[in-house]
Amino acid sequence: MNKENKGQIRTIEAFFAVLIIFSSFAISANLTITQTITRHEDLASMGLQALVKLDSDGNLGKFIEDGNWTAIRDALNIILPAGVCFNLTIYNEQMQQINTEVISNGGFSSQQIAFTEYICASQGTVFCCYIIHLHLAVAT
């Protein structure tokens, strides 16, 4: 290599170093996943607990049978802490959506959405089973 070109090689080396360092930034950015998972678990457990409590006297199943979607939304609104957004979907045993209205307290502005599934059995004379999907997010 020509003596005069040595400096140019070092400049190229420096640019390689930049490449390596920025790739290390990219890898370290992925470390946020751990934090996200924990938050999801907390929200999901909160949502599941709310559904269990609402269903403890068969009220949830009765609301579903009566098609009283407003009551389900109001109950979740009261039970869940302020600042938690939710969207609830109810399916029958054939996984067909049965709620005719949106059961939600607003749009999700957060990208961290937790999910919980709950199986609710009706207490009516005809046995029915409902699959409830609850999506939760912290309002930002």
């Binding site: 003596k3 005069e4 040595k6 400096g7 140019q8 070092r10 400049t11 080396e13 420096a14 170093a17 930049v18 360092i21 290390s24 930034f25 370290s28 950015a29 470390l31 946020t32 751990t34 934090q35 924990t38 907390d42 909160m46 607990q49 709310a50 269990v52 409590k53 609402l54 403890s56 006297d57 009220n59 407003t70 009551a71 389900i72 109001d74 109950a75 609104n77 009261i78 039970i79 802490p81 302020a82």
Partner: protein
């Protein structure tokens, strides 16, 4: 200076600068994540402790009912309950410092057997009932009081069914059920023959779920001086469906005592009395409502009304973490708990030294 030296100097400076800035940025980026990993494991541990407190019934499992018993291991769950997060009415009542049989933080701390953590527990209704006296209209034979009743959760109106009781000297009036969209105005008419101070007791039941209950109490002057602060004349301690009313002054005479819920009410019968206290049997109503106990009496010539809820909530016991958050890791977890068929909000703060 030859061109090669300038190139080399420039390249070396650039590399050193980049390495230094990369080190600084990487450490700045990584530190919170490394810290978060530690925090996440602590948060997980503290959440397990909070859950343990609410799912475990402690030893002895009936430590709440017996006023003499101090738990060997601490837990608030109702013994033999099939319902998760169902708390014992007496264990909860014994957390309230207003109760004569309350256990101290030191006793709880010893029973918890975890020397490296501190905690605080708050139990309260899921939504709030606020009562404001907005106007008074005095007439020759009667006085009308206008109240504004708000049912809200964090400022958001809650639709609720309301029921009111008014208690004064030898006077108990029950209202019919009102439906409120979060704000309602109520007129209470009291004859001028009735002696006060009077007490307005309000129960609120969420329309969407009968187990979501709250209550509010408002004392107001009627043919009397302004009511004194709660606990001035009596210390009311409900436990194991027995009410102990401890007299603060020796010259106090009790007249009537009532147990009120949203659907039922009864007058309490005295079971024993001494110079210092009087006990009553409490009715066990099968109602998803807290029981409000109102005791009326005279301190020489001054009429008074005192009240307590059973379970004795709202309550907050334990360490005050305010100002300690920079020195310790404090995590709060909120749960929906059941006490005697009604739902309440329970928040457990657990803190420990920052690692």
């Amino acid at each position: 200076m030859p061109a090669i030296s300038v190139d080399t100097f420039f390249a070396c400076s650039l590399m050193v600068l980049l390495v230094l800035s990369a080190m600084a940025t990487t450490s700045k980026l990584l530190y919170p994540h490394i810290n978060n990993t530690v925090n996440n494991s602590i948060a997980e541990k503290y959440k397990e402790i909070s859950t343990y407190l609410l799912l475990n019934d402690g030893t002895l499992s009936n430590w709440g009912q017996n006023s003499q018993k101090i738990p060997e291991t601490f837990g608030l769950a109702k013994a033999d309950s099939d319902n998760p997060y169902e708390l014992d009415i007496d264990k909860v009542s014994r957390l309230n410092s207003e109760n004569l049989y309350a256990i101290s933080y030191a006793q709880i701390f010893t029973a918890l057997k975890m020397s490296d953590i501190s905690f605080s527990i708050e139990i309260k209704p899921i939504f709030e009932v606020a009562i404001n006296l907005t106007a008074t209209y005095a007439f020759p034979n009667e006085t009308i009081y206008e109240f504004q009743i708000l049912t809200e959760k964090h400022g958001v109106p809650v639709r609720a069914e309301l029921k009111f009781y008014v208690v004064a000297e030898n006077y108990l009036e029950t209202s019919y059920v009102h439906v409120s969209d979060g704000r309602i105005y109520l007129n209470i008419t009291l004859s001028n023959d009735v002696n006060g101070p009077a007490l307005l007791v309000t129960f609120a039941k969420a329309i969407c779920n009968a187990k979501i209950m709250s209550f509010g109490v408002y004392a107001f002057a009627h043919n009397s001086v302004e009511p004194k602060q709660k606990g001035t004349f009596l210390r009311l301690s409900p436990l194991n469906y027995t009410l102990n009313a401890s007299l603060v002054y020796s010259g106090i005479n009790l007249s009537k005592a009532y147990a009120l819920t949203i659907n039922y009410n009864s007058t309490l019968a005295q079971t024993s009395s001494s110079n210092q206290s009087i006990t009553y049997n409490l009715s066990h109503f099968l109602d998803s409502s807290p029981t409000l106990i109102v005791v009326t009496g005279w301190n020489s010539t001054v009429f008074f009304t005192e009240w307590a809820a059973y379970p004795q909530i709202p309550l907050r016991t334990g360490v005050n973490f305010e100002g300690l958050t920079t020195l310790s890791n404090v995590f709060a977890n909120t749960y929906i708990v059941t006490i005697n068929l009604a739902l309440y909000e329970c928040t457990v703060w657990v803190g420990g030294p920052e690692e």
